[in-house]
C-alpha cells in the first residue's frame, strides 16, 4: 500500500490515472473505459481486474470515505451489476485528491488507509470513524503520553458507512487480536402508517403504496441499514425461503420452529439508494418475536473476521512516530476540509 496514505497500490494507480486525465472534483468526469485502457497501457493492469477495484472505490456503500465519484450505473446493493466501463464515468473525490497529494509528498501523510480498512475487499482490517481517527491522532500529537484506553475510547468501535450495528469482542479487536464482528441491519417494529409515510416521502412517481398499509395500525417490521457486504436482493429471497414449508418439518417440529419465519408478506420498498424491506408478521406472532428471528437471517446479520495489524493505541502511535517530522496537523486539516466538502458529504450521504 501507499506508505503515506495507506491506500492500496492498485487503488492509487486508478487515482493517478484519473488525475492524469484531469478528472478532479468539480471538473469533468472521464470515461472509465479510457481510464482502464490507460492503466493497461501504462502498468499492464488487466481491465477486468482494474474495473473491479474501480467499482469498489465508487460504490458509496463500500468505503466510509469514498475516493472516487462514480457517474452512471455502478450497480446496486442487490444483484444488478454495474454497467460496462463504456457507459460509466468517474472523477476523484476530494479525499481521493488528498490521498494523491500525500503520496506525492505535497502534504504530510494522511491516515486514509487506517480509516477505510480493507474489509470491502475481503480483508480483515475494519473501517473506523474518520473524525474519531483524526481526533485521536491530534490528541496524541498534543499529549504523547495519552493512555491506551483513552486512545481506544476516542477512536471507538469500527463504523460502517451503511449505519449497520456492530457487535462482537471490540476489546479484543482494539488489543490487536482476531475478533469476529457481527454486522446487523436495523430491524424495527413499527406500524403500517409509518411505512406509508416513508413511502410517500420517497415520492417516486408510479410507485404504489404497499397494499397492507390499508390497516394503518397493523404492526410491521422494517429492515434497513443493511451491512455493507450483504446482498439486499438475497435477503428478500432468504426471508421468503424461511417462510416456506418443507417436507422434513413434519418429522422435526423443533427444528422447523427454530428455522421457520412466521411472515405472511415481505415487500422490497427500496428506491433511490434507500434499501429497505417491510415484513408483516403472521397472525398471532408478536412482532418482537419475528424481529428476533429476522436478525438471525443471513444478510440481515453477517459475521466477518477482523484484526487490526497491531493494538489500536500502538497503531496510532506507530503511525505518528513514522511521520513525526512532517506537518501532520496540516495534513489532518486538509483531510478534514476534504471530508467537509460538499462533494464528499454528498458521496458519504448517498448510502
Amino acid at each position: 500500500m501507499g506508505q503515506r496514505s495507506g491506500v492500496g497500490l492498485v487503488e492509487l494507480a486508478i487515482l493517478e490515472a484519473l488525475d492524469a486525465r484531469r478528472a478532479r472534483p468539480g471538473g469533468r468526469a472521464v470515461s472509465c473505459e479510457k481510464v482502464l485502457a490507460a492503466l493497461e497501457d501504462e502498468i499492464g493492469l488487466a481491465r477486468g481486474y482494474a474495473y473491479q477495484v474501480l467499482i469498489d472505490l465508487a460504490q458509496p456503500w463500500k468505503l466510509p470515505v469514498p475516493l472516487i465519484e462514480g457517474i452512471g450505473n455502478f450497480g446496486s446493493r442487490g444483484n444488478d451489476p454495474p454497467a460496462s466501463p463504456r457507459y460509466t464515468e468517474a472523477r476523484l473525490s476530494r479525499v481521493g485528491q488528498v490521498a494523491l497529494a500525500a503520496e506525492r509528498g505535497q502534504i504530510a501523510p494522511v491516515p486514509i488507509g487506517m480509516i477505510n480498512g480493507n474489509t470491502h475487499r475481503e480483508g480483515i482490517r475494519p473501517p473506523l470513524r474518520p473524525a474519531a481517527v483524526i481526533d485521536a491522532i491530534r490528541q496524541v500529537l498534543l499529549k504523547p503520553r495519552l493512555s491506551g484506553p483513552v486512545i481506544t475510547g476516542i477512536v471507538g468501535p469500527p463504523e460502517f458507512i451503511t449505519g449497520c450495528t456492530v457487535t462482537g469482542d471490540l476489546a479484543a479487536l482494539a488489543a490487536g487480536q482476531y475478533a469476529e464482528l457481527g454486522l446487523h441491519a436495523r430491524v424495527t417494529v413499527t406500524d403500517a402508517a409509518e411505512v406509508r409515510d416513508r413511502v410517500a416521502k420517497a415520492a417516486i412517481p408510479g410507485h404504489r403504496l404497499p397494499g397492507f398499509t390499508r390497516d394503518l395500525g397493523r404492526p410491521v417490521i422494517v429492515i434497513d441499514k443493511f451491512p455493507p457486504y450483504a446482498n439486499t436482493d438475497d435477503v428478500g429471497l432468504s426471508i421468503g425461503k424461511r417462510a416456506e414449508e418443507y417436507s422434513w418439518h413434519a418429522h422435526h417440529p423443533e427444528l422447523a420452529a427454530l428455522t421457520g419465519l412466521p411472515v405472511t408478506d415481505v415487500r422490497d420498498l427500496s428506491a433511490r439508494g434507500d434499501y429497505w424491506y417491510v415484513c408483516l408478521p403472521a397472525d398471532g406472532t408478536p412482532p418482537q418475536v419475528l424481529r428476533e428471528e429476522l436478525l438471525k437471517v443471513h444478510g440481515v446479520s453477517i459475521y466477518i473476521t477482523t484484526r487490526l495489524p497491531r493494538p489500536l493505541p500502538t497503531m496510532i502511535r506507530t503511525w505518528i512516530r513514522a511521520h513525526q517530522h512532517e506537518d501532520l496537523p496540516g495534513s489532518l486539516t486538509a483531510l478534514e476540509i476534504a471530508l467537509a466538502s460538499r462533494q464528499q458529504r454528498r458521496l458519504m450521504a448517498a448510502c
Partner: protein, 162 residues
C-alpha cells in the same frame, strides 16, 4: 454423551440481537449457521460436520463463520444432497448439477443461514477415516453427525493458520 456447547441444548436460540435503535453491542450469540447443518441432516444427507461449527458443537472456544460438511460418497447420498441444497440455497439455480457433484471438490451454497461448504473430495478420500471418530450431537430435534474435536482441529490446522 458428546460434550456440547450449553447454548446448543437450548431450543430457543438467541441471536443476541441488538435492541431497537441500540447503536452497538458487544458479545455474540448462538451461531444460526449451525442450523444449516441440522437442515441437511433433516433432509437425510449423510455427512460429517467439520470446521468451526463442529468445534463449536464440541464446546471448543471458536467463532463459527460457516458450515463445512464432509459428504459421504455414494450416488443416493449425492441425489439427496442435490435436492437438499436446492431447498437450502437462496439461489437454487446456483446449486451445481448432480453430475457436477460427482466431480467437483467442494460445492458451496449461500443459504439464509450463511455459507455452506459441502466437501465432496474430502468425503471421497477421507470418509472411512473420519466416520469412526464422529458422533451424533443434537441440534434441536435433529441428530447431527459431528467430527471429534481432535479430527476437526486436525482438518482445520491443515487448511488454516489460526
Amino acid at each position: 454423551v458428546p460434550s456440547v456447547n450449553a447454548a446448543a441444548k437450548v431450543p430457543a436460540v438467541s441471536a443476541n440481537a441488538p435492541a431497537d435503535g441500540e447503536p452497538a453491542l458487544t458479545g455474540r450469540g448462538f451461531p444460526a449457521v449451525v442450523l444449516a447443518a441440522a437442515v441437511l441432516a433433516a433432509e437425510r444427507v449423510s455427512g460429517v460436520l467439520v470446521g468451526s461449527a463442529a468445534l463449536w458443537l464440541r464446546a471448543e472456544p471458536v467463532a463459527v463463520g460457516d458450515v463445512d460438511v464432509v459428504i459421504e460418497p455414494g450416488e443416493a447420498n449425492l441425489r439427496r444432497l442435490h435436492e437438499a441444497l436446492a431447498g437450502l440455497a437462496v439461489r437454487p439455480g446456483a446449486v451445481p448439477a448432480l453430475h457436477r457433484l460427482r466431480e467437483i471438490s467442494i460445492a458451496t451454497v449461500f443459504s439464509s443461514y450463511g455459507r455452506v461448504d459441502c466437501m465432496l473430495e474430502r468425503g471421497r478420500r477421507d470418509w472411512e477415516w473420519l466416520r469412526p471418530g464422529a458422533g451424533y450431537v443434537p441440534v434441536a430435534d435433529v441428530r447431527v453427525l459431528v467430527a471429534s474435536a481432535a479430527d476437526a482441529w486436525a482438518l482445520r490446522s491443515r487448511f488454516r493458520k489460526r
